[in-house]
């Protein structure tokens, strides 16, 4: 009964979203105030019924109702409660319900925090989001119903959640990633609303910015969580694999990064308008394409859900309808947009344009690398694979150029910056960062390495230019503190996010070039040396968990002869499926991670194992935290709220005649 109620609730949400996708938009076109004002209550309605559906599905998981197909497929009675609950998003149907619920959540947030925006605009934004809801819920009801029952004979027990997913990372990574992904739908809806209204001034850019920043920040965290999870759970010590399903979030993230910068230019200077609108559409397309790739079985990958061409065709239809429709609308409306102001060759506008070009080119090249094997197969029927070498060869140089510009961009001024001024500002910084880049790695590594020098010099360059810019900003203030206090939050957010880039660069660069790894066969009491560390295998014991049995090894780690840590890697066999799985043991540290993965037991009590030393790897995720914090702080800038109110007053004034019409 409960699953049927869930299904019923989903159908109600569908019906309400049909109203939401039509009535307010028609109301906005015909200036019918009543119709427009239905947008907010309808959004709340869609949210509530999707929430009910989600809770009821969760109930089926928690109570082990194996007559529900996805519960039988993804859960098991032995599963610990936290995984029973989250097994909900362990497969295609449940995760898509979560995805749609997230969209409704964003929609509700927009309807609540848009009181100061014109009614007509809000009606269009929520209407566009409503259309997306219609597509998504229809997709669920038609091809992937999460409440599908197994009749007449349900299985006695479920087939269990994929053992690789039974981990803390699985609890946090998918919801965060989805929330970030779906957040770009909001920015997309703002852009479409602006195109529909034909009023492409900088107001919509101002309204979009906090939403774009928030979505971007959450996506950053979502991707970082995925990378962290892959690192400690998959046990091969990698943090990024250029997997075809890892790439779409990165593509979306790069486009989103370009978008938040381009929005700034559009808001402040009223230029690049059509470009910004296009980016908003593309970032959204990136997020939908990610869904398409994961759920259609288009590409084979560790992330992919079951292959099903009918689902693929459906999502492709959604893509064509939403993104194709948006691009068509863009083609018709964009020529109306005119830049209000000019700028010269050396100006902040140009630096931001460079940023955009580099980010979009890198997103495009990752896109190409991800889809090329499929395109190639479509044309020639042969299979090829494009591995990390391609992606690294393309991505790394582009990022190095981007980071060079990242230093000067924030220092330059709008409209026109004199080259002499910039040179004067940065010449000392260039020299100092180069010195740090050469000297610091020499002290630590005791040898010269070009890779380390490039990383450290670039990171210093970013941090020092931020410092220089900051001192310029507070130089003529009464005191340092009053200067810092007077900084706008959006500026603070930018500084933090840029510092995050530097931190991540150190982490990614040094880990990629200076990690150590050895695979060995160790008997009890034997040891292996790696770098300045030694790992001693003390023996193993048998263990039994709630839904698995296995072995746990006891390994001491010594540095220069002193014991610093004991590690307990495990090898488990999950009872429900008999799948083996390794649980690596990590000693995480600010400057390095030490870890061990346990292989198989051989004759004489010896175990095969792999030991690793990963310098600075935590900095990758630390950098992501900086970036996300920066995005959130920038989104919280009070300025948007104040300006928005003034903006609305102007808008209402201009609209006066039609408002009168409504009143009569």
């Amino acid at each position: 009964m409960i699953p049927e109620l869930g299904q019923f609730s989903l159908i109600l949400a569908f019906s309400l979203s049909i109203l939401l996708g039509t009535v307010p938009i028609i109301g906005a076109e015909t200036n019918n105030f009543l119709w427009m004002s239905l947008a907010r209550p309808l959004s709340a309605g869609v949210f509530v019924f999707l929430a009910i559906a989600l809770v009821l599905l969760a109930y089926s998981f928690v109570t082990d109702d194996f007559s529900v197909q996805i519960v039988a497929a993804q859960s098991n009675s032995l599963l610990p409660m936290r995984y029973k609950l989250t097994a909900l998003w362990g497969g295609h149907e449940g995760s898509f319900l979560l995805w749609t619920f997230m969209l409704a959540g964003w929609m509700l947030a927009v309807s609540m925090y848009s009181k100061s925006m014109p009614t007509q605009f809000v009606a269009r934004v929520l209407g566009v989001l409503g259309i997306l809801c219609v597509c998504y819920i229809l997709f669920m009801l038609a091809t992937s119903n999460p409440f599908e029952r197994i009749t007449p004979l349900p299985p006695a027990d479920g087939s269990d959640l994929n053992t690789a997913l039974q981990d803390f990372g699985f609890i946090v990574h998918p919801p965060t990633l989805y929330m970030g992904y779906v957040g770009f739908s909001v920015v997309f809806a703002f852009a479409i609303a602006a195109l529909l209204s034909g009023r492409l001034d900088s107001a919509w850019a101002r309204w979009s910015r906090p939403w774009a920043n928030a979505a971007w920040a959450i996506l950053t965290i979502g991707i970082a969580l995925g990378s962290w999870w892959a690192y400690y759970e998959l046990g091969w010590g990698g943090w990024w694999a250029w997997d075809p399903v890892e790439n779409p979030p990165l593509i979306t993230w790069l486009l989103g990064t370009a978008l938040i910068h381009s929005l700034a230019v559009t808001e402040k200077r009223g230029v690049f308008k059509s470009w910004t609108v296009l980016l908003a559409i593309l970032a959204f397309a990136g997020s939908l394409l990610g869904t398409f790739i994961t759920r259609s079985g288009l590409l084979t990958s560790v992330h992919a859900f079951a292959s099903d061409p009918t689902r693929g065709v459906f999502i492709l239809g959604i893509l064509l309808l939403t993104v194709g429709g948006a691009l068509l609308l863009y083609a018709l409306r964009a020529p109306l947009m005119k830049s209000e102001l000019g700028f010269t060759l050396v100006s902040r506008e140009i630096f931001l344009l460079t940023n955009n070009v580099l980010l979009v080119v890198s997103a495009a090249s990752i896109f190409l690398g991800t889809l090329f094997p499929m395109v190639y197969q479509a044309l020639t029927d042969d299979l090829i694979s494009i591995g990390p070498p391609y992606f690294n060869a393309v991505f790394v140089p582009l990022m190095i150029i981007l980071m060079l510009f990242l230093g000067v961009g924030p220092m330059s001024r709008w409209k026109k910056t004199s080259t002499e001024y910039l040179v004067k500002q940065v010449s000392r910084v260039v020299v100092v960062s180069l010195m740090i880049g050469v000297v610091l790695p020499l002290i630590i590594l005791l040898e010269f390495s070009l890779a380390a020098t490039v990383c450290v010099a670039l990171a210093s360059w970013i941090v020092l230019t931020i410092g220089k810019d900051l001192t310029n900003k507070i130089a003529n203030k009464a005191s340092v503190w009053s200067g810092l206090y007077a900084l706008p939050l959006s500026y603070v957010g930018m500084m933090l996010a840029h510092t995050g880039i530097a931190v991540m660069l150190i982490g990614a660069g040094l880990t990629s070039y200076f990690s150590l790894e050895r695979s060995v066969l160790l008997g009890p009491g034997e040891k292996v040396e790696i770098g300045s560390y030694a790992y001693i295998f003390n023996g193993h014991e048998e263990i039994r968990g709630p839904n698995y049995v296995g072995n746990r090894a006891n390994i001491s780690v010594l540095k220069n002869g002193n014991e610093i840590e004991t590690l307990f890697p495990e090898r488990r066999i999950y009872l429900a499926t008999g799948t083996p799985s390794t649980e690596m043991a990590i000693d995480a540290g600010f400057l390095r991670d030490l870890f061990v993965t346990l292989g198989e037991q051989k004759e004489g009590g010896a175990w095969s194992m792999t030991v690793y030393v990963k310098p600075f790897i935590r900095w990758i995720w630390l950098g992501a935290i900086f970036m996300a914090l920066g995005g959130i702080i920038a989104a919280a800038d009070k300025r948007y709220r104040l300006l928005r109110r003034r903006e609305q007053e102007n808008y209402e004034k201009k609209k006066a005649p039609s408002d009168l019409q409504v009143a009569s």
Partner: protein
């Protein structure tokens, strides 16, 4: 002309959509389909009870190939179905004792009953790799020529038997007539 350039994104996107659509129908070489309609891989292995078996010893009729292990709890769930099938003589069942120890497998069969014509002992999981086994339980439907025709991952209970296997078997029988 100037206005036309704004149509470039949508045209590009439609072209991309066409390629993606074509891509959907390409064989993405997922594991489940790999051995469907192929002959069972060559093998020469011992059984749980100690005889040597090869492809020649396969039943000369449609049979089930069931991957099981003494460590596998869901195998107990599907076990009654296989017992019934073999007792009623509906279809022969060949077992693959997958990544298991011989003593444990023997114990398991004597405790729970043995529905298998014989069980191939695949202690190191090599044969499982050749077959593309995910894990136990897993069941293949093999025809009289030794060609794999259907694959079912996870528990084969009465419901699965009725809904998936019986129609597939009926189809095979119709084909051979």
């Amino acid at each position: 002309m100037n206005r036309l350039k704004f149509f470039a994104p949508v045209l590009f996107f439609v072209a991309l959509g066409g390629i993606l659509w074509r891509g959907l129908y390409l064989d993405s070489r997922t594991l489940p389909s790999m051995l469907i309609d192929k002959k069972m891989p060559e093998f020469a292995l011992g059984t749980v009870s100690g005889e040597e078996v090869t492809n020649k010893d396969l039943p000369g009729q449609i049979f089930l190939l069931n991957v099981w292990g003494s460590y596998c709890l869901p195998c107990l769930v599907e076990h009654p179905t296989f017992m019934r099938l073999s007792e009623e003589g509906e279809i022969p069942v060949v077992g693959i004792n997958y990544k298991d120890r011989n003593e444990l497998a023997k114990d398991w069969l004597s405790t729970n009953g043995n529905p298998f014509t014989y069980s191939i002992q695949d202690e190191d999981g090599r044969f499982g790799i050749d077959l593309g086994v995910y894990g136990a339980p897993e069941t293949y439907l093999v025809d009289s020529e030794g060609v794999i025709r259907y694959r079912h991952v996870s528990v084969l209970d009465e419901a699965v038997w009725q809904q998936e296997f019986l129609p597939a078997i009926a189809e095979l029988r119709a084909e051979s007539e």
